[in-house]
């Protein structure tokens, strides 16, 4: 499909872009950032903030880069004196009514107004003698506060709700410098994707109540990850401060979630910080658990697997990685295996304006990865089978009270690879502490059969290790000559060697955006 290309020069760099590309997008390819506020690649462009005005040779006026398309031979100056003066003018205008809230504003440190003013704004104000316009703070709904005084009226939030969420619940009220973002009193910002307006807001006007005054942006460490909330597999960033997850934010992936994530996934991260963790490997002897070293625990697990035969049941969490699910499954290859993954179900919540993007009913991230590795969704049947199996491996599954009570009286040996210390675990023969998804590297496969990597965001607590490491060590056997995988990439390679669906794929090829598994290799 031959696309017509257009050559354009932007700040001296020549780029070739498809016809119809806007200057602001073409500039990205030239490595030039055109400062902007109201423009956003996933929203319709109104060209109202006027920050992106650039100088185009032979054009009589400065042109807004977000809506002006490239023309053959065009020469654009983003950082000429004229363009810079215009931008400085916009920044000055924005600051006259903007309160000096930086010391108390959550956006500080990741604020686009701060950034551009620091980069090219005026050093001092010329508005000192006048009062700033005042509007009160508004509570818009479940998670969003609107600090009206900080608003720069870029209208990204209004356009998101109108065009992407397709639920026009925000408006611009009044006119002139009295304008502010309004919400109808009967309506509330409770749309399942409404938290995105906080990300979209370039300043600290729309802020998250959940994150309010929790941490300074510059104190945050960020790791690229995948949302563990459902099978959509939105790309996210896990943001931590001092090893505690304080925020999840979407990471752009044009093929999966564009720039967005739903509120359910966004706000469900507290479980990643739970402190009630299994701290050390535990071996049950004479009716009580004793904490042991990993060597001892791994030896014990190896022995259990060698000395038993018959039926084995794996009850796994849908949050377990491909690496973990795959290698744990391999542990019981000799057995008659039933493997199931628990899939809690909720209501679907699509983001109407983006095709194929929704909070999915299956509230686990790796259901499809599990299915490719031989796990099923038949949870109840698997639990029943576990009652009589020789060996039951619980891979961090969140058991209901009934299931836990039943498994406490299971005939065979119960091995738990778990994160959280639950009461019922006392009856398990072996309890091994594993990492949760924020504490390890791993891979999930989403509903579109896209394999996506997630990266470690915080330290492993206590003696916890990834489940794939545990299984890998046992599979390799004791002694220094074993070839146990020491990284998630090596674990993944072991899986890719044997499971056709992952045929020949390497971690390195998954990058930050993941890759769809080739259909031909997917064994159903």
């Amino acid at each position: 499909m031959a696309e017509e290309l257009v050559n354009v020069t932007i700040d001296g760099a020549v780029v070739s872009v498809p016809k119809g590309t806007t200057i602001i997008e073409a500039a990205k390819q030239a490595g030039v950032l055109v400062p902007h506020y109201c423009y956003h690649p996933s929203l319709p462009s109104p060209a109202v903030c006027r920050m992106c005005l650039v100088e185009v040779e032979k054009a009589p006026k400065l042109m807004p880069a977000c809506v002006t398309t490239v023309a053959e031979g065009q020469v654009v100056h983003v950082n000429s004196a004229t363009a810079k003066k215009a931008r400085q003018g916009v920044l000055e205008f924005l600051l006259i009514n903007h309160p000096l809230d930086c010391p108390i504003c959550d956006q500080s440190g990741e604020c686009e107004l701060q950034d551009y003013v620091f980069q090219e704004g005026r050093a001092g104000t010329r508005y000192a003698e006048y009062a700033k316009r005042y509007n009160p703070v508004e509570d818009f709904g479940p998670d969003v506060l609107y600090v009206a005084n900080r608003c720069i009226l870029c209208t990204r939030c209004v356009r998101f709700m109108d065009d992407v969420a397709q639920t026009p619940v925000l408006n611009v009220s009044e006119r002139g410098d009295r304008a502010y973002i309004g919400i109808s009193p009967e309506q509330t910002l409770d749309h399942p994707w409404s938290g995105n307006v906080v990300d979209l807001c370039p300043v600290g006007s729309l802020i998250s109540k959940d994150f309010l005054h929790k941490a300074r942006a510059w104190d945050l460490d960020k790791a690229p990850s995948v949302c563990p909330g459902c099978t959509q597999g939105c790309n996210i960033s896990i943001e931590t401060r001092d090893d505690v997850v304080v925020r999840l934010r979407p990471r752009p992936n044009m093929d999966v979630n564009r720039h967005f994530m739903c509120d359910y996934g966004r706000l469900d991260y507290r479980w990643l910080n739970r402190g009630d963790r299994i701290e050390a490997p535990l071996v049950r002897e004479q009716g009580r658990h004793a904490a042991v070293d990993w060597d001892v625990a791994l030896d014990r697990l190896g022995a259990m697997l060698r000395d038993t035969a018959g039926a084995a049941v794996i009850l796994a969490s849908g949050r377990a990685s491909v690496e973990s699910l795959g290698l744990v499954r391999r542990l019981v290859d000799r057995f008659d295996v039933t493997a199931a993954v628990k899939v809690p179900i909720g209501d679907e919540a699509p983001l109407a304006g983006i095709p194929d993007l929704a909070l999915r009913p299956e509230r686990v991230p790796n259901l499809h990865g599990a299915e490719l590795l031989g796990y099923t969704r038949n949870w109840e049947a698997a639990v029943r089978k576990a009652m009589a199996a020789s060996i039951v491996i619980i891979l961090d599954a969140d058991l209901s009270a009934e299931d836990a009570a039943a498994l406490a009286t299971a005939a065979g040996q119960v091995v738990v690879l778990g994160t959280v210390a639950d009461e019922w675990l006392r009856s398990a023969a072996l309890v091994l502490p594993i990492t949760n998804m924020a504490e390890e590297n791993g891979t999930y496969v989403n509903r579109d059969l896209r394999a996506q990597r997630y990266q470690q965001a915080k330290s492993q607590p206590g003696m916890a290790r990834p489940a794939w490491w545990v299984a890998g060590e046992v599979l390799a056997g004791p002694g220094p000559d074993g070839d146990a995988p020491s990284t998630a990439a090596e674990a993944f390679a072991l899986i890719a060697d044997r499971v056709p669906a992952f045929g020949g794929l390497a971690h390195g090829e998954l990058g930050f955006g993941g890759r769809t598994l080739r259909a031909a290799e997917v064994a159903r």
Partner: protein, 435 residues
Amino acid sequence: MGYPHPSHPKETPVLSKYFGDAEARTFDGWVKRGGYEGLRKALAMGPEAVIEEIKASGLRGRGGAGFPTGMKWSFMPKGDGKPHYLVCNADESEPGTFKDREIMRWTPHGLIEGCAVGAMAIGAERCYIYIRGEFTEPWRIMSKAVEEAYANGALGANVFGSGRRIDITLHRGAGAYICGEETAMMNSIEGRRGNPRIKPPFPAQAGLFAMPTTINNVETLAATPHILVHGAAWYKGLCLSNPKSTGTKLVSVCGHVLRPGNYEITMGTPMRELLYDMCGGMRPGRTLKAVIPGGSSVPIMTAEEAESALMDYEGLVEKGSMLGSAGMIVMDDTTDMVYQIWRLAKFYAHESCAQCTQCREGTAWTTRVMERILAGKGKEADFQLLLDLADNMTGKTICVLSDSCAAPVVSGIQKFRGEFEAYMSGARQPSLAGV
């Protein structure tokens, strides 16, 4: 007619001929006065011929932009199969302008006829006349006239038996000057906030309801039947100066003249004739100080510039201003220029739609600086500040409201700097309380 005064001999009454004549408001009265002949002729000529005739006449948009009307009509696509719309801009809110009101309340059928001519020329079956909400009397009169026009076959499914459909809908505005901007007007008709749109797309490609649309001012449309009846050559011949400015213009003169009102002059008439002959000149004992000739959005002219200016598009540009809507605000020597410039800035700040940063914040900031100056707290640095703000507000926004705010400020400082300095030095007492 220099309504409410009788026509002055130096006027050229074409549109204003029946101002003050109540019978002209009725369908029969209008027909008796030669009305609807233009429409009948247009129907017989067909769209292409009508557009050519209007082009040849040199008629230019009378709402302020002065764009050649025939050319504007020719931008509409032909044979595209989409519904076309004509919008008649009766939002008249430019300070100093009050001519469209008279056309509507004295010659409503003249406007209806002009809209019908325009609609058929651009292939539109519906014309929306957007009347500002405050024009309650024109609304009542136009409503009645539209009913009459339908009853007499001048509008409807089969206009004068031509087989063409032309419908007119009156749409009432609700208090927003910015809705006089053509793209904001379209948004307002669509039931939205009156925000101007970015161009492209241009109205002729995708306008009202995303369909090809032409927007014309009341005065422009009202002129078209006359051109068709008397011929393009006649209209072209009504020209006293630059051949690019032809026909007549209704000039709304207000402020410090003896006889304010609407005066219909031939393009190119010297402004001093208008001021001193037709309007009767200044009040006793007073002298001319300044004129804002085109509605408030154009640069202020000094008395010398005004007295030597010719009233047409090019003539006023030559003097550093613009003809605009020809809402002429006349100021004599009692005028506090600083105060008037403040009041104009306040107008623009009130009317800004809030989309563009420079306009939303700049009009308000300009107003506040002017208030401080009037309160006696101004300083020398305020000159540079005001000029800087004006520069940042010019040529950088979706529409020209912010440029319009800048124009009186810049020209005011250029030509009446002394008055600002008088406030700053304390030579003049503050005229506003503290800010």
